[in-house]
């Protein structure tokens, strides 16, 4: 027997599971009609390079969202990474490795700070990571006095290498996705991440080291932001106080559009990949159509609201 309710229920499940991929397909069809230039090899290469930039941060953001957290501090980490790479590297190619390692170490510290605030001090993630964002930005500016010194080593430009569409950032993005899709699905750690996000009290009573898992996820979130920051710095090859602005909120948007729930425990990286592509294609289409950049924000906003509305319709009846 198929009642109306059944049909609605199936529709909900369908939307929750496949909605984002359908949306991506429709968007690509629309692009084929409106902006066929999008499918030129050069354009695809640019879109994918930018998508990788966003996508790498979004992996970390997805992990944090899965434990019912949120990381606003990634924006600060981009700037910090750029400054550290320039200061430590200071134009010398042999200093690239120490520069990147220093940025990763500092990033890990920021993530640890986020994690400790959220777990040990029980600060809500929004407030903790917002505070950390302001702190990291402030510290970076105080250190540079507003005028960043040093030079980005030329050799970091290697990130601009590409083989047809496959650029270094894209390879990084795909590789990290493959690795972390496996971590989430095929390892104990991944299972524990979902368990903590799904029901923290049950996780604690099941013997899961809940705080350690949450802290580790914040550290990973920061490390992904550092990696993305290094790629971005290599791309522009100079230090910029506004580097990567917008990527922080876009990373949250990509994960949410991709079906990762704000309340934790639901979602995953495949959805986030689709979310990243949707956001990036939309941005590019706006440019190709010759519309103002403001229109880009309006469209982005509508897409995010639309996705959230769809998922709330798709959520199980309480």
């Amino acid at each position: 027997m198929t009642s109306r309710w059944t049909k609605r229920w199936r529709l909900r499940k369908f939307v929750a599971d496949y909605g984002v991929y359908i949306a991506l397909t429709i968007l690509m069809l629309a692009a084929a009609l409106l902006t066929p230039k999008l499918f030129a090899v050069d354009t695809i290469a640019v879109v994918m390079r930018q998508a990788s930039q966003l996508g790498i941060v979004a992996i970390g953001q997805t992990l944090v969202l899965l434990v019912a957290g949120l990381d606003l501090s990634v924006g600060g980490i981009f700037i910090m990474t750029s400054v550290v790479v320039a200061e430590v590297g200071n134009g010398r190619d042999e200093m690239i490795a120490p520069a990147i390692l220093s940025a990763l170490a500092l990033g890990a510290l920021v993530g640890l700070g986020n994690g400790l605030l959220v777990t040990k001090r029980r600060v809500p993630p929004f407030v903790a990571t917002l505070g950390m964002l302001v702190l990291v930005k402030g510290a970076t500016q105080a250190y540079t006095r507003g005028v960043p010194g040093g030079f980005v080593p030329e050799a970091l430009g290697i990130v601009n290498q590409s083989w047809f569409v496959l650029s270094v950032p894209l390879a990084l993005w795909l590789g990290l996705n493959a690795l972390f899709i496996f971590v989430l699905r095929g390892t104990s750690y991944g299972r524990r991440v979902y368990a903590v996000g799904s029901n923290i009290e049950a996780a604690r009573l099941s013997g899961i080291p809940v705080d350690a898992i949450r802290i580790s996820v914040y550290v990973l979130g920061s490390l992904f932001a550092v990696v993305s920051g290094v790629v971005l710095t290599g791309y522009v090859l100079y230090v910029d106080r506004f580097i990567g602005s917008g990527l922080d909120l876009d990373s949250i948007a990509a994960a949410v559009v991709g079906g990762t729930a704000f309340i934790g425990g639901r979602g995953g990286l495949l959805g986030t990949i689709a979310g990243v592509l949707i956001i990036q294609i939309l941005s590019t289409m706006v440019v190709l159509l010759g519309l103002d950049v403001e229109v880009q924000f309006i469209i982005k906003g509508l897409v995010i609201l639309g996705a959230v509305m769809l998922y709330s319709v798709a959520a199980p009846e309480s």
Binding site: R10, G186, A202, L205, G265
Partner: protein, 502 residues
């Protein structure tokens, strides 16, 4: 006989292709108390949600106060005089009792400003109709659950309810609170209010109902005045099994001392409890909600750190700081509140069952699916968990199957001691019976069980010994011939010393 105040005729309802109600008819005369009984999943709550307008029936008609009722919003239905008090109370904890009672309908003075004097005076008046005294200024969050329930009832009265549905009101009450609820129901009945009382505890239905309707698998299987019923026929029509078969008997031998606690206390109400538990034994813990039963379980499991005393497992002294240490030592806790503490509702059956033994089924942190499949299918068979596949989300399982999944998770840790806190709450009678059978099997294999329960027949039927708690301490221990309901209630309500002198 006068016209019925409510008549539900031929109600049918399906969810996702599963039939929840089939051609159900239910009628109420004004001023009587109706018991609506049946196993979990029998359709009681669905029927009442249709009455409340929360669900729409697929077929059937509702005639209320002599007029057919058509599709209406829940607000209109409340205004028409039907109030439903759900198990999970719908109050705003930060607001006072009075503010909750008149939420959205606050009395105002001539210029439209909130009239606090009126608000409290009218709330007091409603509460006195119920024969209770309560400070209406206190935030509801600071009241006991029983008092919160009273606030809900007062709220229903403030809406001039002629028909009040109480969905398993006793599930959250204990002892004297229940008596108070029954007094209130009697008072409401005397004032001409019709009550529909949903429960699966038959003793209560026999105490207060004038007429009983039994639902089974979405159909009415019996409906008649209470005088024409006895417990045996009622149970048989509910489950198709008689009462004697509910508690499986066994004659296992009692084994060695496994767990001993000496004067343990934590930062909670728990204040100096000692107990001894043997292999193959079921130790029942009785007592009212808030007597320290759950806190005892948490202390034995390392969920709350001990502030004094000692726990010994197989002779070794343990200082547990975290549940994971307790789990490794061989203690398991099936917590009282399944949804908030036991189950990962958004995760699959598979992920739930193996979450505590991930290290056993993985190598270098990488899961071995083959091993996991074996564990899951063995657990599924052993506990006869009904599911479509191991990937099914546990929130879509019935209460009984959810509880089996939680039990399966803990049995996988191969515990020597398993603590069950209200193991059959929110579980239908059929699954209850299976859980009892499982407990006996575990006993026979030498597992020691501590069972906390509010249901006296369950405690008495299953336990080898019973500890009764009161105010964070053990008020008394009963075993063998000494076990009877009255003694347990006395110890639970009065405490050890007073119960003896009483």
């Amino acid at each position: 006989m006068s016209e019925p105040i409510l008549e539900m005729r031929g109600i049918s309802k399906s969810f996702a292709g599963v039939r929840a109600l089939r051609d159900v008819s239910f009628r109420c005369q004004a001023g009587l108390v109706y018991g609506l009984v049946g196993e979990n999943g029998a359709g009681k709550s669905t029927l009442m949600k249709i009455l409340a307008g929360a669900y729409k029936a697929d077929a059937g008609a509702i005639i209320y106060k002599g007029r057919p009722r058509h599709a209406a919003s829940t607000g209109e239905i409340i205004a028409s005089g039907i109030s439903i008090i759900y198990q999970e109370l719908a109050l705003v904890p930060q607001m006072s009792a009075a503010e909750n009672i008149f939420l959205g309908r606050e009395p105002r003075n001539a210029i439209g400003i909130l009239d606090l004097g009126q608000l409290h005076a009218r709330s007091q008046e409603l509460l006195s109709r119920l024969g209770v005294a309560l400070d209406t200024r206190l935030p509801v969050g600071e009241l006991t659950i029983a008092q919160q329930q009273l606030v809900e009832i007062a709220k229903a009265l403030s809406q001039d309810a002629d028909l009040i549905v109480m969905d398993e009101p006793s599930a959250i009450l204990a002892g004297s609170e229940l008596d108070q609820l029954f007094d209130i129901i009697a008072a409401l009945k005397a004032q001409g209010v019709t009550i529909v009382y949903i429960s699966h505890r038959l003793e209560e239905v026999f105490r207060i109902a004038d007429e009983v309707t039994v639902l089974k698998d979405g159909e009415v299987v019996d409906s008649r005045p209470i005088g024409q019923l006895d417990r045996h026929t009622l149970v048989r029509s509910m489950v198709g099994r008689s009462l004697d078969e509910v508690f499986p008997q066994t004659d296992h031998e009692q084994g060695d001392l496994v767990l001993a606690a000496e004067d343990i206390a934590t930062d909670t109400i728990l204040d100096g409890v000692s107990l001894r538990l043997h292999a193959g034994e079921i130790l029942g813990i009785a007592g009212m909600v808030g007597s320290g039963r759950t806190e005892l379980a948490r202390a034995l499991f390392g969920a709350d750190p001990l502030t004094r005393g000692e726990v010994r497992l197989a002779g070794k002294s343990l200082q547990w700081q975290t549940p994971s240490q307790a789990i490794r030592a061989g203690v398991a806790l099936v917590p009282e509140d399944r949804k908030s503490q036991g189950l990962f509702t958004a995760l699959s059956v598979r992920n739930n069952i193996t979450i505590s033994i991930l290290s056993r089924i993985s190598r270098l942190g990488i899961l071995r699916r083959g091993q996991e499949d074996k564990v899951v299918s063995a657990a599924r068979q052993r506990l006869s968990i009904v599911m479509t596949s191991p990937e099914q989300e546990t929130q879509t399982l019935s209460g009984g199957n959810q509880q089996k999944v939680v039990l399966a998770k803990w049995l996988e840790t191969a515990p020597a001691v398993i603590i069950l806190d209200e193991p059959t709450r929110g579980v239908d009678v059929g699954a209850k019976f299976e859980i009892y059978k499982l407990m006996r099997q575990l006993n026979d294999r030498g597992l020691a069980i501590i069972m906390i329960s509010s249901e006296l027949p369950e405690i008495i039927g299953m336990s080898d010994r019973i500890l009764v708690m009161n105010g964070g301490r053990v008020a008394g221990e009963l075993a063998g011939e000494a076990v009877d309901e009255e003694r347990i209630i006395k110890l639970a309500t009065l405490g050890g010393a007073e119960a003896q002198s009483a």
